[in-house]
Each structure stands twice: as structure tokens, then as C-alpha cells.
């Protein structure tokens, strides 16, 4: 449907372009004067006035019609459907949409609901049709009104080019405003649902509580705990994995950067840099697979065999512990995340080391220093703030990384700093809370937004600090 309308709008705009162009030429010729703008500019002006209003109508309809259709469908639902638990009701309406659109439902519904599904499906299709036809008519009216306006306005003395350029400028500004709107959208959607979450769970309990078990009974008759939302174990787990990742990424990344910028020949640079870029381009889900099925089992076997060796010796307890270590440990997720961050750290540090002025190096060599001494005593101190910024950015990446930890770190919310234990992180919990059966108003689901807000704020602060440091440092040598 929407494609059909878009096609109509495109066709009308094309019509307006050619019509406007012809009209401008004819009117200029009739008056026998030279027009301010060329006919093509008049054509574009007509195109904008016909296309923009109707496109605006279509975009607004695209944004709001889903919500309106949903409210209309919910408002007229039958009592059988009303009696469903909220999250089942949502799923039911979802299926009604699918049935209405001529697709199979995703679930099988029991007897009275099966008929209801067809009824509601038909209703949803009707609502959609009404909305679509309404949108189409509104868009058409907008196009016609725009066309009329243009038809009256086109005159040889119309400053069509300037007008068109103003429109283009406004459009470009709107494009860059999308970036700001995205930020506002992120902040509002996180804040809105987090506020609802903090109505049922106090902020202090969330930030300082040490017990995390978000399982809440979804139905009244279900056996389940009341849930505890103390996020400290998640923060500890995230921190632990981040530290392990940085222990891998910082030295390896930094030393590769030093090697690449100070030692490597032109050819080896040309070979090594693309390889590091490949490492950076591998999707995180692939790293997760690697962690879960290669690194995890390998490290478990390694620690278990060490444990078996120690059992019976003076370190019997340690041996017993090591022999029972599982695949999912913080070390696995952290180490693989560290590998993922190597190219990130190395390319950032490479840039920073390269931006240290050559004169500092030359001065150091002239005093008889070796390369390593130059690096250690001159370059690194000079580049230190920048490198600190790069490491902060890497930390923010490590905190926000999701797939590796989801696939390799586990779900047990333990308050521990032992790298061989399974821990869980903020991102893992967000994924767990929001996948599977869910009800959008339960604290369990809303907790994900509380965690998301925390994550967003922490990474934001880290990024801003890091960018400030890097920028301030760059200015020093510019």
C-alpha cells in the first residue's frame, strides 16, 4: 500500500516538475521578460511544493498509524481477549495483525480465541485499510494544495532558485538534526522506562543491592520469587571482564602500535595493518562462537588437568577447585574480548604516537638514545594522555560489548573477582530480560531499561572524558 502511495507521489512530483518548468517558460515568454530563475529551477520549486507536503503526510502516517491502529484494535477487543494476561494479549494482537495481513499466526490459540483471532484479524485488516486509504487521500489533498499554490506563485520574477536552495538547506539541516533526535530518543526511551522501573524498585536498592534475581511470577498463580534487583553483582562482573580484556588488549595493542609506528618497515606495515583491520571487522557474534566453542573448552581442559595434578598434594583444595572449573568463566569472555579490542587499541595508539612531532624523536636520537629509549623516555610520556584516552575508549567498548559475554560468560549473578568463576554482565542481563516471554510493564522487563540507562551513562562519561583528553593533547602539538 505504502509503495503504491510513494509511487503516486513520485509520479505527481515528476508531473509537477515538468509542468512547472513548462509553465515558467510560457509565462516568461508571454510577458516577454527574462525570468529571474531558469525554468528548471521553477520546475524544482514546483516539485518541492507538490512532493514535500504529501511526503510529510506519508512520513507522519508511517510514524503514527501503527500506534493508532493498535489502540483502535485494543479498544474494540472482545471480553475473551480482555481476560488474557497482558503479555499474552500483546502476543494475541501481534498474531491478529499477521492473520489480518494474510500470514500464518505465530502461536496456536485455544478454542474461543481461534475464532476471535480470525475476527480480530479481519478487524485489524479493516482498520489498516481505513488508515491507509485515509493517508492516501490526505497525501493527495496535500499534493493538490501544494500544486495550486505553486501554480499561482510561478511568475518570471519569482526567485525560484533561492527558494529551492533554502529548501535544500532546510532539508540538510533536518538530516543533521536526525542525529540529535536519535540522542534525544535514546535518552527519553531509556529514562521513561527506567523511571517506571524505579517506581517499583528504589534507585538505592538497584545501585547498591548485592542480590540479583529478576525472576518474577508473570501470572498470579505461578510459583516464583518476588525478585531482587540489586545490580552490584552485574557491575562487578562487567568490571571483572573489562579488566581481563584490558589486560590482554592494552599490552598487545600498545606494543603492536609501537612496533608498527617505530620499527616496522613500509612493507611490513602494509601487510600487518590490513590484517589488524580484518581482526577489527570480524563480527562480535563470531568472537562469541569462538569463545564458547574453542577457547572455553580449551581453558577448561587446561585448568581441569592442572587441578587433577594438584589433587592429593599440598594444594589439594586448589586442585579440587580447578578440576571442577566450567566452560563459562570470566576469563574466557574477557580474553576473547581482549583479542577483539587489540586492533582498536593499536590503531588509536598508532595515530597518537604518529602525531608526536618528529622533532622530539630527532632530538632524542641526536642525544644518542636508542629507539627503545626514545620510545620509553620521549614518545610514551609525550603520548601518555592520548594513550590513556584510547584505553578509556577501549574500556567503554568492553563495557558495552554484548555478544561475546552473552555467549561465553554465563548467567549466574555472582559477586566475585575470581576470573575462573562464571559471572554475568549488565549487557547479558539486558539480553536475557528482553528475550523470551515478556510483559512490558513488569519490573523484570523494565529492569533492562534501568540497566541500559546505567550502561549508557557510564559509557557516555568515559567517552566524553576520553575525547576531551585526546583532543586537549592533540591541540598541544598542532
Amino acid at each position: 500500500m505504502i509503495w503504491f502511495f510513494l509511487l503516486v507521489v513520485v509520479a505527481l512530483s515528476a508531473l509537477a516538475f515538468f509542468g512547472g518548468r513548462g509553465l515558467a517558460a510560457r509565462r516568461a515568454a508571454a510577458k516577454g521578460v527574462r525570468a529571474h530563475s531558469r525554468p528548471t529551477q521553477h520546475g524544482l520549486y514546483a516539485l518541492i511544493w507538490v512532493g514535500a507536503p504529501s511526503l510529510l503526510v506519508l512520513i507522519l502516517a508511517g510514524i503514527f498509524s501503527g500506534g493508532i491502529a493498535h489502540h483502535a484494535l485494543v479498544a474494540g477487543a472482545s471480553p475473551e481477549v480482555e481476560q488474557l494476561e497482558p503479555f499474552r494479549r500483546e502476543a494475541f494482537f501481534q498474531d491478529a495483525y499477521l492473520v489480518g495481513a494474510g500470514q500464518p499466526a505465530q502461536q496456536i490459540w485455544p478454542a474461543p480465541l481461534t475464532e476471535q483471532l480470525t475476527v480480530q484479524g479481519r478487524r485489524s485488516a479493516e482498520i489498516r485499510t481505513v488508515l491507509n486509504v485515509g493517508t492516501g487521500i490526505a497525501a493527495l489533498i496535500a499534493a493538490i494544495l501544494g500544486g495550486l499554490y505553486v501554480f499561482l506563485r510561478i511568475r518570471p520574477d519569482l526567485r525560484a532558485r533561492n527558494r529551492v536552495e533554502d529548501w535544500i538547506g532546510a532539508l540538510l539541516f533536518a538530516c543533521s538534526a536526525v542525529a540529535v533526535l536519535t540522542t534525544i530518543g535514546i535518552v527519553f526511551s531509556l529514562l521513561w522506562d527506567s523511571l517506571r522501573f524505579f517506581q517499583s524498585v528504589p534507585v538505592a536498592e538497584f545501585l547498591f543491592g548485592t542480590k540479583w534475581s529478576p525472576q518474577i511470577a508473570i501470572r498470579a498463580d505461578q510459583v516464583g520469587s518476588s525478585g531482587a534487583f540489586g545490580a552490584v553483582p552485574l557491575f562487578a562482573g562487567t568490571f571483572l571482564i573489562m579488566i581481563i580484556a584490558m589486560c590482554v588488549a592494552a599490552p598487545v595493542g600498545l606494543f603492536s602500535a609501537i612496533y608498527l609506528s617505530e620499527y616496522a618497515s613500509r612493507t611490513s606495515r602494509a601487510v600487518v595493518k590490513p590484517i589488524l583491520e580484518i581482526l577489527a571487522g570480524v563480527p562480535t557474534v563470531v568472537y562469541g562462537f569462538f569463545a564458547a566453542l574453542t577457547v572455553g573448552p580449551a581453558l577448561r581442559v587446561f585448568f581441569n588437568s592442572i587441578g587433577d595434578l594438584l589433587i592429593g598434594g599440598p594444594l589439594n583444595d586448589v586442585g579440587l577447585y580447578l578440576s571442577l572449573v566450567q566452560n563459562q568463566m570470566a576469563l574466557v569472555a574477557g580474553a576473547v574480548m581482549g583479542i577483539m579490542l587489540i586492533p582498536f587499541v593499536s590503531s588509536l595508539s598508532d595515530d597518537i604516537i604518529n602525531s608526536v612531532p618528529q622533532s622530539l624523536r630527532d632530538g632524542s636520537y641526536a642525544m644518542g638514545a636508542t629507539r627503545s629509549e626514545t620510545v620509553k623516555k620521549v614518545l610514551l610520556p609525550a603520548a601518555l594522555p592520548g594513550i590513556a584516552g584510547a584505553l578509556l575508549l577501549a574500556m567503554s567498548r568492553a563495557i558495552g560489548e554484548t555478544m561475546i559475554v552473552t555467549m561465553a560468560a554465563g548467567l549466574a549473578a555472582k559477586l566475585t573477582l575470581n576470573p575462573l568463576d562464571t559471572v554475568t554482565t549488565v549487557t547479558v542481563q539486558i539480553v536475557t530480560l528482553l528475550t523470551g516471554d515478556q510483559e512490558f510493564n513488569s519490573p523484570k522487563t523494565l529492569a533492562a531499561f534501568g540497566l541500559g540507562l546505567t550502561l549508557f551513562l557510564v559509557t557516555l562519561v568515559l567517552n566524553i572524558v576520553a575525547q576531551r583528553i585526546v583532543q586537549a593533547y592533540r591541540e598541544q602539538y598542532d
Partner: protein, 434 residues
């Protein structure tokens, strides 16, 4: 200075100093070598990890590209086939019983062995047999040769992934079943072939029938939505910021904003998608439309940054020349600067699309973790995507899904390599240095 030292101190003290200095130089050079070694070590660690990663995935995944097919004569028993409803016949069990008879094995009265034999054939056998009967009912009462995939466990055995050496209680196939599989193989009924199903099927709960096509189409639709939204808006925003925006607080704010957006964790975009597109706008869950919108917002900052840097690379002389010829600012930008910057812009856009293709976390939140069989036809119906398929298969309990996960990763990487290669080619071919 040396003269002064010579005259003041004795020759003995001097040689001591020289040797001390030489020892120091030796030490310093050793330190230098060690330091360089660390660098080499770090680079080789990074490269080693990459090779290990790719090697492991190829090692785990290459077996998924071929599969085994069992060809058996099936007597279409008129007593067991319902002519009006051939799909209802248990062809698998029927074939299994006939095969047992051929192998000369007596079943017990509960039919345990027939059930064990039956589990060696894929359920595809049933569909193929039913299709033959439906197309030509005359075959009932005759013997037909039917080729069908081996079940996932049987396939794994033929590939050598299930070994006889493992204790029987730790593998999914019994000694008896393995003996049958060996006999079928030696009788020439088993054929190894390229696993076309992997590329032509949608997802399935049965590993031997599961394929990536549904996810590939889903990912393609999603990228289409992303590209249609993110590339024009990204270029527009970059052109505004680079060529038009006045230097004021608002444009500074937008700039800081874009830099920060580029570093927002991807899962936060997923939360935005849930709250905005699904809960508020009621767009269909787990559809390529929602996925594409979320990825578009994510790709936007990268595209803006890439476009700005290639606009910056166009020398000001071009702009000045155009302006001097009487072109307006808009004409200058759209007729001269942007076309010259286009190769760089497209390179950045393709790379960010390749990045969006591999993004997984936001897709999990908007519902792309559910099992969706079949191949999507439009951008508003529930689908899977390649990276989320990797996640789903990795979590599956059947062992045969492990090799398929690695194969799906290889498919994903192949797409990314193609896109990146296109970007590099574009850069090599068209990029101009001023």
C-alpha cells in the same frame, strides 16, 4: 674533554670506564632488542589469534558443506498407504522395517529396532515419498527407489565426527545403529554430495534440513532498509555540517553529539528500537523493517564521519573556482564538491553497511531470536538474520548444528569480504589524491 680526563685520571681508570661504558652499551642494545622483540611478539600474537579464529571456524564449518544421502528401494505397501491422504503415512517407519528385513534382522514385537533404524533417516524421506505417491498414485504396490538425506546423527557418523571409540552411552548412536550404517555404506546406498539444502532452505528444527537462505534474505531486506535510510540522511547531514553550517553553538552541539553517538554501545540502540519502534510505533516485531531502522540509526554516525572526511579532502580551490564562476553555494556543493567526494563517501557507506550486517545485539532485543522457518517475502513479516541465526544455532542442543553454525559464519564472512573488497576496489579505482 677526553684530553682532560686523560690528563687528570690514570690510564687504568680510563679503561675501566670504557669497559663500563661498553658493558652499558651492550646492556642498552640488549634492552633495545628485547623491546623490539616485544613488539614483534605483540603483532604475532594478534595475527596468530586471527589465524586461530579463522582456522577453527573453517575447521569446524567445512564439513557442513557436504552431506550424506541414503538411497533405498521402498516397497509402497498398499496396506499402509492411505490413497486419499498419502502425507499421513509413516514412510520412515515403513522404509525402516523393509530395510531391517533386507539386512536380515528380526525385530522384537515392540518394534524397537525399526524405531532405531527409522531415526537414521531424515523426515525429508516422508515428504519425498508422499510427493511421489501424490504425483503418481499408480506407484502404490510397486517398489520405488527414494533418495533422502541421512539424519543429522547418521550424517555426523559418516563424517567421522561420531566415533566408535567413544563409549556407547556417551554418543547418540548405538553400536547396532553404527553397524547398520556401515552395512548401508558398504552396500553403496550412501552417497556424499554437496549440501545444497544449506543454501536453499530456511531455518528448521532438524539440522539436516536447516539452511541459511531465510536468514540471508532477511539480512538483505534489513540492509536495504538501512541503506535507503542511513546513506541519504548521513550524506545530507555531513554536507550540512561540512559545507553549510554556521560556526555556532548548535553546530558544535550536533558535532559532539555525533561523536558520542558513534561510541554508544550497540545494545543501547536495541533498547531504543524496543521502546520506540515496537512499543510506541507498534511496528511488527522481529521484522526487517524494525531491524533496518535500528541499524540505520547505528550506521548514521559512521557514515557522517566518513562523508565529512572525504568532503574535507576536496581542496578549497574547487569550491573557490565554482563560486568565482557565479555558482551558488548549493550548486558548488552538489555539482562539484560532492561528485568529487563520492568515491570516498561510497567507500565509507559500504564499510558501514558491512559493519551493520555483522551487528547482532540490537537484533536480539527486537525479537530476532525466535525460530522462523521459511523464507521472508516482505520487510514487515517476522524473519531471522544471518548474525542472529549464528546465535540461535550456537545455542541449539543438536551437535550437527555446531558445524552449521560455523558454516553460517563462513557465509556471513563471505558477504562481508565481498562488501569490503568492493569498497577497497572503489577506493583504488576512483579515489583522487589532490
Amino acid at each position: 674533554m677526553t684530553d682532560a680526563t686523560l690528563s687528570k685520571a690514570g690510564v687504568g681508570a680510563d679503561t675501566a670506564r670504557v669497559s663500563k661504558l661498553q658493558a652499558g652499551i651492550k646492556k642498552r642494545h640488549a634492552r633495545e632488542r628485547r623491546f623490539k622483540l616485544y613488539g614483534v611478539l605483540a603483532v604475532s600474537v594478534a595475527i596468530g589469534f586471527l589465524l586461530l579464529l579463522l582456522g577453527r571456524i573453517i575447521e569446524q564449518g567445512h564439513t557442513a558443506f557436504y552431506a550424506h544421502e541414503i538411497t533405498l528401494p521402498v516397497y509402497m505397501d498398499p496396506a499402509r498407504i492411505d490413497r486419499t491422504y498419502p502425507q499421513g503415512t509413516n514412510f520412515q517407519l515403513m522404509t525402516a522395517e523393509q530395510e531391517l528385513k533386507r539386512l536380515g534382522i528380526q525385530d522384537d514385537d515392540k518394534g524397537t529396532k525399526a524405531t532405531a533404524m527409522r531415526s537414521l533417516f531424515s523426515s525429508e524421506l516422508k515428504f519425498r515419498a508422499a510427493a511421489i505417491v501424490r504425483d503418481n498414485p499408480a506407484v502404490i504396490g510397486q517398489t520405488v527407489t527414494i533418495a533422502a538425506p541421512a539424519s543429522d546423527e547418521a550424517d555426523l557418523y559418516y563424517k567421522g565426527e561420531i566415533s566408535k571409540a567413544t563409549p556407547a552411552d556417551q554418543r547418540r548412536l548405538s553400536d547396532e545403529q553404527i553397524a547398520w550404517l556401515d552395512r548401508m555404506k558398504s552396500s553403496g546406498a550412501v552417497r556424499t554430495h554437496f549440501n545444497g539444502a544449506l543454501f536453499t532452505n530456511g531455518d528448521s528444527t532438524e539440522p539436516e534440513l536447516a539452511g541459511v537462505l531465510g536468514a540471508v534474505v532477511g539480512s538483505a531486506l534489513m540492509l536495504l532498509v538501512t541503506a535507503l535510510i542511513a546513506i541519504p540522511i548521513g550524506i545530507g547531514a555531513a554536507v550540512y555540517l561540512e559545507e553549510f553550517s554556521p560556526r555556532n553553538r548548535i553546530s558544535d552541539l550536533i558535532e559532539v553529539n555525533i561523536n558520542n553517538l558513534a561510541a554508544v554501545p550497540s545494545i543501547v540502540y536495541g533498547l531504543l528500537g524496543v521502546a520506540l519502534f515496537i512499543n510506541w510505533m507498534h511496528l511488527p516485531r522481529s521484522s526487517p523493517l524494525v531491524g533496518g531502522l535500528v541499524l540505520a540509526l547505528m550506521a548514521l554516525p559512521t557514515i557522517i564521519i566518513a562523508t565529512r572526511s572525504s568532503l574535507k579532502a576536496v581542496p578549497p580551490s574547487i569550491r573557490e573556482a565554482a563560486l568565482a564562476m557565479g555558482a551558488s553555494r548549493t550548486q558548488t556543493v552538489f555539482q562539484h564538491v560532492l561528485p568529487l567526494a563520492m568515491p570516498g563517501v561510497m567507500t565509507g557507506a559500504i564499510i558501514s553497511m558491512a559493519h551493520a550486517l555483522g551487528e547482532t545485539a540490537p537484533l536480539l532485543l527486537i525479537g530476532m531470536v525466535s525460530f522462523v522457518p521459511g523464507i521472508p517475502h516482505s520487510a514487515v513479516e517476522p524473519t531471522g538474520a544471518l548474525p542472529s541465526l549464528v546465535y540461535i544455532w550456537e545455542n541449539a542442543s543438536e551437535r550437527a548444528f555446531h558445524e552449521r553454525t560455523a558454516a553460517a559464519i563462513l557465509v556471513l564472512l563471505a558477504f562481508m569480504i565481498v562488501m569490503n573488497a568492493a569498497a577497497i576496489l572503489l577506493r583504488r579505482r576512483f579515489e583522487r589524491r589532490w
